[in-house]
Amino acid sequence: MQTKITKIDPDKPELLEIHCHSVSDEVREIVAFVKSRQGQLTATADERQYEIAITDIFYIESVDNKTFIYTKGKVYESRQRLYELEEVLKNNRFLRVSKSTVLNLMKVSAIKPALNSRFTAVLFSGEQIVISRKYVPALKKALKGEA
């Protein structure tokens, strides 16, 4: 894919236009990255498309190869895979906390002990998310600002 950047006058709105043969995963990834830079993600709910503010997202979960975005009281489905969203959101205080979940650290009210070496993240919505032991070191690093 070729890239072309054209400088425009400050009074004109900035626009990113993609000319492609088909809307491939690569194209979706580029669009998702641009939207995430603007603080938004595209997802569907009730057969309608929504732009969700990243700051409104509590967590993102992958279930049966589908990706769901959870906000306060509403669930959206994303066409992107969990690892793609993880990549896009890693600079937005989101962290992978289990094989199937990416968590918004800004929406966690407390961390509690769970079975074995696991912890549970209690969200401001009251929901509880399991933090797998594999991801605990990454969480510790992230909280110390080392991630």
Binding site: L105, M106, A110, I111, K112, L115, S117, F119, L143
Partner: protein, 144 residues
């Protein structure tokens, strides 16, 4: 769980067990043979016994995340194996009722096992408390 982390956790468990076995030896000794003296060589006993009690936990090492059911089953198997090891290695002193002695030792092992698990859980509780504090600092620093 990484094997290194597993080893660190079990080293902690070993240290807790050594302490608790020393305490239990004192209690049992005071009940069954309060007038008996022990030699320095016998002091190594709790270290060996704690090692033997930690060994069964290696058999049930989980690479993947266990479910609640798996966790409970594993704990019951661990306790059963530990009871067998301890009762096999400890002999009742002379002039004591063997059944009563073994029953008491079995009960003490159960108490020690529960206390060891509680200690590990307490350690985890303190860790989670620290993580929550770090999380609040992180949120305060990252808020726009």
């Amino acid at each position: 769980m990484a094997f290194k982390r597993f080893l660190v956790l079990h080293l902690q468990l070993y240290c807790v067990l050594v302490t608790l076995i020393f305490a239990a030896s004192y209690i049992v000794g005071m009940i069954f043979a309060p007038e008996q003296n022990i030699s320095y060589s016998q002091l190594v006993g709790p270290f060996i016994l704690a090692g033997l009690c930690v060994l069964p936990t290696f058999i049930t090492y989980f690479r993947k995340e266990p479910t609640l059911k798996q966790f409970i089953i594993r704990s019951v198997i661990q306790l059963a194996v530990i009871e067998v090891i301890v009762l096999f290695f400890i002999q009742p002193p002379e002039n004591t009722i063997a059944a009563l002695f073994y029953l008491l030792i079995g009960a003490i092992v159960l108490v020690i096992y529960v206390l060891a698990k509680l200690t590990v859980w307490l350690n985890k509780y303190l860790q989670s408390k620290k993580l929550t504090e770090q999380l609040r600092d992180f949120q305060a620093n990252e808020s726009p």
